[in-house]
């Protein structure tokens, strides 16, 4: 067992791409946790999607041993967290398991929107914060200016900020020393009843359900019978281990330690992130406060392309939810798409990631319907309904008014792009609340309708500011506005999965863009296909996909038959990724791509 005085637990937090995962690499490397030959860049980003997109999606924990200058060896548990706003729940959850944070700031970029958001979260969690200025190897790095910025904008003392290059390894020893000297040791009573926090869990094809815990009080050992306090489930611990980052078996975990266990958990639902784990006998009666539940803001339907895969999808969603506490799901049926699930997400990137993980890790082809936020429908009879799916919009004669969710958005942007950002926010029905300057950067705060933001606001913001703006938001409440349901008709037939709620004033332009997009997304058919956007029977935009004119194999003799058959097979497989609406086949990706606006 490890003396809590020799333990330091911390998360690495930062704005997206400021170098958290690279710093984690160096800490792992310098402490010899992983053999040199097994090192690779951003090694904690182990999912395919993370490696392809170069971003962290899941928080990752690793335990390292560090012989400090004071002659003692310390056990450090580091949690690398994601930077993108859609995965903020991962960050807040991780922070609850540790006592301190390394706040990484890219010295060439300075303080960005998620830097701010993360600092506030760390302060809320009662963390000790060590600021780290990264990427000082870059010619554009301005550590002094960024230090000043941290003090001005955040109000954090940056005089002891550590200048480093996570890429070259410069300054890493200082970071390790600071972790030991500046971050607090965990507290906890070894003799008290076991109180452990269920921090994370995931499904492993070989091991089954793996549960990650942080022990607060007491000691947990291999073979112990434990109880999950919220769900009441009881299990015997089969295997207890720490992550280095590969699993390494350990006999026990005491106060302040972080580790994982397996327990032949059959019911995936028994493990809930934030739950408290104690011993079956002689356990504690007081659970830990638990995590603040995440609030999904974007909803969409997920349907298996092949209706026969519905049960597989159910199973996959359950397993994935284990690893991602921030998405919700409930069964849904649709006339056109059959059985599926209506799922809630923290943002569009989150939606894309979940969909991609379901497709890849569980090998299920999915159709995603138009994403929607949650509207409050105030009925004439005084009741209020939550509308997650525009297809469920009640008859207007019973509706008194509709409210939509609003957010407060904070955007940091260099001066020269401010005009474009203001215009973008204005176009999206935003109301400016604040505009301040820190050096040559402006910070604007806007009140915006969420439905104008979820689809592609972030992409647009990046493109109008050439990537120099950063953005963070949180939900503030609901407000009434003039909202209408826009339907899309493909070949004269309404396609529910494409209908959406829009503001009356924006309906025409959205309808037009939607029709144009669909025109490109739906392949030509043998007949021409009218595409219309309509509000309550009135067509507000239309496009026509002209009929296919040429698709024939020029040469096909005796020797070509096999090849031609293969081609047909391939095309048939392609057709499987389409859904039939009347006579028209719509590719699965059309449902989500049709919603992205270019302006």
């Amino acid at each position: 067992m490890t003396d809590p005085a020799r333990i330091r637990n911390f998360s690495i937090v930062a704005h997206i791409d400021h170098g958290k995962s690279t710093l984690a690499d160096r800490l792992i490397q310098l402490t010899g946790t992983v053999a040199e030959r097994d090192m690779k860049e951003q090694m904690l980003d182990s999912m395919d999607i993370e490696r392809e997109r170069g971003i962290t999606i899941k928080a990752n924990t690793v335990r390292i041993e560090y012989p400090a200058k004071d002659g003692h060896t310390y056990t450090l548990n580091l949690i690398d967290t994601p930077g993108h706003v859609d995965f903020a729940y991962e960050v807040s959850r991780s922070m609850r398991a540790v006592e301190g944070s390394l706040l990484v700031v890219d010295a060439s970029q300075g303080v960005e929107a998620q830097t701010l958001a993360n600092v506030y979260q760390a302060i809320d969690a009662g963390h000790e914060i060590v600021p780290v200025l990264n990427k000082i190897d870059l010619p554009a790095a301005e550590p002094d200016r960024v230090k000043a910025q941290i003090e001005d904008v955040i109000g954090l003392d940056a005089s002891d900020a550590i200048p480093i290059s996570a890429k070259s390894g410069l300054g890493i020893p200082d970071v390790l020393e600071a972790i030991v000297t500046r971050l607090p040791a965990p507290k906890g009573d070894r003799t008290a009843p076991l109180t452990a926090m269920l921090v994370d869990s995931w499904y492993d094809a070989y091991l089954g359900v793996v549960v990650m815990i942080r022990v607060m009080d007491g000691v947990v050992r291999k073979g112990d019978r434990i109880r999950m306090m919220q769900t009441g489930a009881i299990y015997g611990i089969d295997r207890l281990a720490v992550l280095k980052p590969a699993m390494q078996d350990i006999g026990e975990l005491g106060p302040g330690e972080i580790g994982v266990f397996t327990a032949s958990i059959k019911q995936v639902r028994d493990t809930r992130v934030g739950d408290t784990i104690t011993h079956e006998k002689g356990g504690t009666d007081t659970p830990l406060p638990g995590f603040k539940p995440s609030v999904p803001v974007v909803f969409c339907g997920l349907f298996p392309v092949d209706a026969a895969e519905f049960e597989d999808l159910r199973d996959a969603i359950e397993k994935l939810a284990l690893n991602d506490a921030s998405f919700t799901s409930e069964m849904e049926t649709s006339a056109a798409l059959g059985f599926g699930f209506r799922c809630g997400f923290l943002g569009l990137l989150h939606l894309e990631v979940v969909r991609e993980r379901l497709e890849r890790e569980f090998d299920i082809d999915l159709i995603t319907t138009a994403p929607s936020v949650v509207y409050h429908i105030h009925m004439r009879d005084g009741t209020v309904r939550e509308l997650h799916n525009p297809a469920d919009m009640p008859d207007l004669t019973y509706v008194d008014h509709i409210e939509e969710p609003r957010i407060q958005a904070t955007i940091l942007v260099p001066d020269e792009y401010l005009g474009d950002v203001l215009k973008l926010c204005q176009d999206r029905r935003g109301i400016q609340e604040q505009l301040t300057y820190a050096g040559n950067r402006a910070m604007v705060v806007y009140d915006l309708p969420l439905n104008e933001v979820v689809f592609d606001f972030y992409d647009r913001l990046k493109s109008v500011t050439k990537g120099y703006a950063s953005f963070d938001y949180h939900l503030t409440g609901y407000r009434e506005d003039h909202l209408v349901k826009m339907q899309v008709l493909v070949n004269e037939e309404p396609v529910d999965a494409l209908s959406m709620m829009v503001h009356r004033d924006r309906a025409e332009s959205r309808g037009r863009v939607m029709c144009e997009k669909l025109k490109d997304l739906i392949p030509r058919h043998m007949f021409k296909i009218p595409i219309q956007a309509a509000i309550g029977g009135r067509v507000i935009a239309r496009e026509t996909i002209s009929a296919m004119r040429k698709d024939v194999t020029a040469k096909c003799y005796g020797g070509d038959i096999t090849r031609k058959k293969k081609l047909l097979e391939k095309q048939k497989a392609g057709k499987k990724k389409m859904r039939q609406f009347g006579k028209v086949e719509i590719p699965q990706e059309a449902f989500i791509n049709a919603l992205k606006m270019d302006s």
Binding site: A307, M526, K550, D551, V552, T553, C556, T562, L567, K575
Partner: protein
């Protein structure tokens, strides 16, 4: 009182509706064309004696399997069969004639490249028994021939055509259109010139960039500019249909045009799902034996094929029995290329009366069903792949 009609469906096999032919593949060319994905190779030396003996081994091996059947056609394809030693052609034809009974109108076609034509060789091919030549002109102007990577000139092409016509009764030629930067006006003029030559058979192929060819490579690297998009390719197609029909050479297949009666017997065996032997490297065959339809394939590399024949007595790399579905789908896929369409009675027998989703295809004017024949209309012909997808993929 009328006599009862003899019920011979039990004794007639399906392939007999189209008949029996033999394909012989010659895998060598003088140069490899950049658009070509045929099994063709350039070789420094060719041991003609080895080829003769190997072809003859294959002819005999297949005769042992088929026994006597009425032979309707032999086709020497390539590669460039006009580079074959006429003696090889003569020996192969003689060996075939010595085994199978042949139809009165037995067609023996040889593919020829303009570069390899001289009157003497052609006469020798005729004496060997060749009755029909298919000449690869590809284009009638030098700049386009160069861009297609052809080694002959337009003048050489026309001269070769003259020689061929003087030697053979039946001569067809091939053109490739929808080329880089080819305008509708360019093609109209060139096709008119071609029709003015009064051929009674013409193959007109839209240029296809086949995977694995030099053209595919160029395209992937941003080269090969000026290829027509779908709409322009469709305009060129429409014009082709019009001009050929006016000239009395309507399409009888997707890319083949002929005066009535001048259609190629051999190719119709493929499109009508007859039986044919595939002899030579990479050749494919379809052979019905005891009610089972076999798909045969041969080793592709010339050396590997020769080796297999010499050592193991067969050039075949494999043969698969086709399932009922595969037979039926091949029949549909190939048969609908023909303007005459398919015989629904055969479809019913082959597919076990599998229903076809015809309603909307007929409503949209893509297909017609009359006199128990299913045909693709003039509107449907340029989008045949889409029609086949609709017919063969059950919709959900």
């Amino acid at each position: 009182m009328p006599l009862p009609a003899p019920d011979d469906t039990a004794t007639t096999e399906d392939w007999q509706a189209a008949g029996f032919g033999i394909y012989v593949h010659w895998p060598y060319c003088a140069a490899k064309c950049p658009y070509c994905d045929f099994n063709s190779h350039v070789a420094a030396t060719i041991d003609h004696a080895r080829w003769i003996s190997s072809y003859l081994v294959e002819v005999e091996r297949y005769f042992q399997e088929t026994g006597p059947r009425l032979l309707r056609s032999v086709f020497f394809g390539g590669g460039t069969p006009s580079l074959m030693d006429p003696a090889t052609v003569a020996e192969v034809i003689a060996a075939i004639r010595a085994r199978w009974p042949v139809a009165n109108d037995l067609e023996i076609t040889l593919e020829a490249n303009p570069g390899s034509v001289e009157a003497g060789r052609f006469r020798a091919f005729r004496e060997a028994g060749v009755t029909r030549v298919s000449l690869g002109l590809q284009a009638l102007n030098d700049p386009d021939l160069r861009r297609l990577g052809r080694i002959h000139s337009a003048a050489e092409g026309l001269a070769a055509l003259e020689v061929a016509r003087a030697t053979f009764d039946r001569v067809s030629f091939d053109l490739i259109y929808a080329r880089q930067d080819q305008t509708p006006d360019d093609w109209r003029a060139e096709l008119r010139d071609a029709l003015a030559l009064q051929p009674d058979h013409l193959s007109l192929y839209q240029l296809t960039v086949e995977p694995g060819t030099a053209f595919a490579d160029r395209l992937a690297r941003g080269g090969l500019r000026g290829l027509p998009d779908e709409d322009r390719a469709a305009d060129l197609w429409d014009m082709t249909q019009e001009l050929t029909a006016t000239a009395g050479l309507p399409p009888y297949e997707t890319s083949n045009h002929a005066r009535a009666g001048a259609e190629s017997i051999h190719n119709r065996i493929y499109w009508q799902s007859g039986d044919w032997l595939g002899i030579g490297p990479g050749a494919h065959g379809r052979l019905t034996l005891q009610g089972t339809r076999l798909a045969t394939a041969a080793f592709r590399a010339p050396a590997a094929w020769l080796d297999a024949v010499e050592r193991r007595g067969t050039g075949e790399s494999g043969r698969d029995a086709l399932t009922e579905d595969e037979r039926a789908e091949e029949f549909l896929m190939m048969g609908l290329r023909l303007t005459e369409g398919i015989d629904m009675a055969r479809w019913t027998r082959l597919s076990g009366d599998r229903p076809l989703p015809l309603a909307s295809l007929r409503d949209d004017g893509m297909m017609t069903l009359s006199d128990d024949r299913l045909r693709v209309t003039a509107t449907g012909r340029p989008v045949l792949n889409a029609i086949l997808r609709a017919l063969l993929t059950p919709s959900r």
